[in-house]
Symmetry: C2
Subunit: 496 residues, 2 copies
């Protein structure tokens, strides 16, 4: 075996060294003749969509252009509200009281979806919530009730709330109350049930309902009394510490949960009768993910503060209902932009495979929207290892997310990246322009209600909804695809 | 300005590229003539000490030589006992009972040392222990008593015990009892007092003595009752988790402490009256270093199992009494090899500097001896950052320690090094041969008793005691410097 002879000729008297941009096949011919070819991973902006490309050009930060100035200023304001968030856990209250859920109202994760389009785990969780509330006494009746239109379904996100996986919230469930005073926002989330048979994966057997009753009667009131005694808990500080302890705030929560329990334990003992205190501490000991829902509510409280700034291309929600992936942008109000959602790339528990998996599900991508979770992967190499990656891959995920975000959050420093902050403030312009999809750490649910978690992995957000968001944002600032505005033609300018 | 012209001549018609080994000045002349010089950081083995070099050559692993075979086999056995250790926390008992301290006996850290050579913080801690035991009622009387010879002083290490900093143990103090069943060993340590005014830095005011009484009357008995209810706690597993959470088991213990508290909290509540339970949980909440002493006892129990194997060059103890740095080797029995101890390289709290520092102090280097602490620095980049280093420096410390150790401990996996285990089993041969001093993470005590911690930093073990250990080990297997044994002359052999 000999190496191919370096390609030299009269035309190229020295060895040929080429850089190939774009299609890999361009490199094949010179490489076959012995040239050294470095391939640059390049794709045309906005996946080659000319209309979007022209809109993106007009939406670029540009102090000399009214639109470009508005977008830049709006994004600066949004980033400042994200970085300025100070989420405090202040209480745990029934959803009826904290969120104002009344009558036969149920919340679910993801963008809006009617009963007949809902996926198995969400339907199962709704049946469980109906049984838990005592609106019917059998599962069959519960399905009928849900089908009948007598239940008012709404996304958690419409009620300043987030829930992992199915994310179903009913009036009697206790929810955490997180206050972000600088942003003037409050956000809520249910209490995390742990692993195994749990409502959020669509299970609703007796053990699941029993746990929900215990949440309502013991865990919720205990945590409420404890927080009144201890005072508010600074969730930003807890998450900041946990990111230095191998958590990323989405799929790893053992550090934050342990810090939280250690912080509250004396107050639990002081405010609670011993048997109840021991049962609460037992539950918290056995649930490495208890902090996840607090982390989610904290992120939601920060993102809601950055929402509703005209002209801002900052993504303020990413969420999935198991059918659709939906996002909201700060500058486009309450409108959802959706794309079909796929199955995460993951590792399955023994006996299960991708054919069993439900498409990606839950509001927990609110953590990535705020710059932790997959965006803070550098903090938690154990997660990429789980799907066959290395510590270097973990760093790379975080670096890559830096290309689609507006800033770094110094409160969330990453030791393995020289204590740089997590990339924060997803800019929909950069997502569309680069084609780099936000990375989301996630659990994988079985597609049938009640079987539960069958794996975990890494999902990438679909790009279509970001393009749609950019179109709407452009329209909202007076740009139309291919048209003109303020005397400028919406075309790429030669001075860029 | 022009670059020096590349050195070419008839002798060297092409550009000269040199590798320089040893003294940097050799490189100066060719570099001045424009040669490219790469400098290799090389030092002669054993710092050029010919006698030790010859002994090291004879002590090398060598299946064809009886001595070489004995050393290799002994080290393999020692390493296997280190890796096979399963330290369990089984109880907390008074030192009188657990260690058998009787009468006026006090333990201290480091190798043996008489009262008149002891440093300020150790003297202060001894005064405090005498007052705590009620052997005298004033500090002046306590000093007199210590001076009089009426107190039997001994190193903690002589009683299967370890203590951080001054390491003073008196009969009424509660100590943790750690059992390593596979090794047939038990080890002990005092309970960690937290930061501020504490006995281990030589303070003995009323607050210090009050805390020690509370340890004796409340904390110790509570933990004992709790452990009887919960069953033994697996310290290897806890430390393994903590090393994936930013702890290195010596200067960072927040993850292990939090995991430990979360694990025990329900049992504390079940076994203890509410006021006492709350006070214990409050203390544990406020002390991020509580787990340090458990970590130390776990390491001691593993290293004692590897001690006493004839021919083994494995280091089974490294410790400091603030005057001497002492080590023991597995193959040289109870003998201590000592060198004067220096001041750690560190960062000082405001108002303090190196001139205030006591030379390095405490048995806590038992963690490095077992392969965590400074050896696991890759797990805790926050520690090198504290003294001005980076995450890359942290990896480098761990990699460097890999060059003086016999193996890796898979129970202690380091995420940032692709989950490689910590370097374990310090081989005194390799330390002497390479001149690479073991790295030790450490707190810095003020040289005057009672002022307390004034900084933290990184210390390097002095090399002299390792050379002395190697000489004694050589003698123990029948080698003498420059002499002959079994017909072999103790000289470097040409076939190496």
């Amino acid at each position: 075996m000999t190496d191919p002879k370096p390609m030299t000729s009269r035309l190229f008297p020295q060895e040929v060294r080429a850089i190939n941009v774009g299609l890999a096949m361009f490199a094949e011919a010179p490489a076959a003749h012995g040239a050294t070819v470095a391939t640059l991973d390049w794709r045309p902006p906005a996946e080659g969509d000319r209309d979007i490309g022209l809109l993106l050009a007009r939406l670029e930060d540009d102090p000399a252009d009214p639109v470009g100035r508005q977008v830049a200023d709006a994004n600066a304001a949004a980033l400042s509200r994200l970085l300025g968030a100070q989420p405090l856990l202040v209480d745990v209250r029934p959803a009826s009281e904290a969120i104002g859920l009344v009558g036969r109202q149920l919340l679910h994760s993801g963008p809006p979806i009617p009963w007949n389009r809902m996926c198995g785990p969400v339907r199962g969780a709704i049946v469980g919530a109906i049984l838990f509330e005592g609106w019917t006494s059998t599962a069959a009746q519960a399905e009928e009730l849900a089908e009948s239109g007598a239940i008012a379904f709404a996304p958690c996100h419409h009620h300043a709330t987030v829930g992992p996986m199915a994310g179903v919230v009913s009036p009697s469930m206790p929810v955490v109350v997180v206050e972000n005073a600088p942003g003037g926002t409050r956000a809520h989330a249910t209490l995390n049930e742990g692993l195994g048979k749990v409502l959020r994966f669509g299970a609703y057997d007796a053990s699941v309902l029993e746990r929900l009753r215990w949440f309502r009667d013991v865990l919720g009131p205990t945590l409420s009394a404890t927080l009144q005694a201890s005072g508010p808990i600074d969730l930003r500080s807890l998450t900041g510490q946990a990111l230095q302890m191998g958590d990323e705030g989405h799929n790893r929560n053992i550090a934050s949960t342990s810090l939280f329990v250690r912080m509250l334990a004396p107050w639990i003992v002081r405010t609670t009768e011993a048997t109840a205190a021991a049962s609460v501490l037992d539950f918290l000991r056995g649930n490495d993910h208890f902090f996840l829902n607090l982390s989610m509510a904290a992120c939601k409280s920060a993102l809601d503060a950055a929402h509703g700034i005209p002209g801002s291309s900052v993504v303020t929600a990413m969420t999935r209902n198991g059918v659709d992936f939906g996002i909201r942008l700060s500058g486009t109000g309450d409108r959802w932009f959706t794309s079909p959602v796929g199955v995460p790339d993951g590792l399955y528990f023994p006996g299960y495979g991708p054919e069993d998996a439900n498409p990606d599900l839950g509001d927990s991508a609110i953590t990535e929207t705020f710059g932790i979770g997959g965006f803070a992967m550098a903090a938690a190499p154990a997660i990429v290892r789980f799907v066959g990656g290395t510590a270097a891959d973990a760093l790379e995920f975080t670096r890559l997310m830096g290309r689609i975000t507006l800033g770094r959050n110094p409160a969330y420093a990453l030791p393995s990246l020289a204590f740089a902050g997590t990339p924060t403030g997803i800019d929909a312009r950069r997502v569309v322009d680069s084609g780099i999809a936000p990375v989301i750490n996630t659990g994988i649910a079985h597609r049938q209600a009640g079987i539960g978690q069958i794996g975990a992995g890494i999902a990438r957000a679909p790009l279509g909804c970001f393009s749609e968001g950019i179109r709407e944002l452009a329209a909202s600032v007076g740009l139309a695809a291919g048209g003109t505005v303020n005397g400028h033609t919406a075309t790429a300018r030669s001075d860029r």
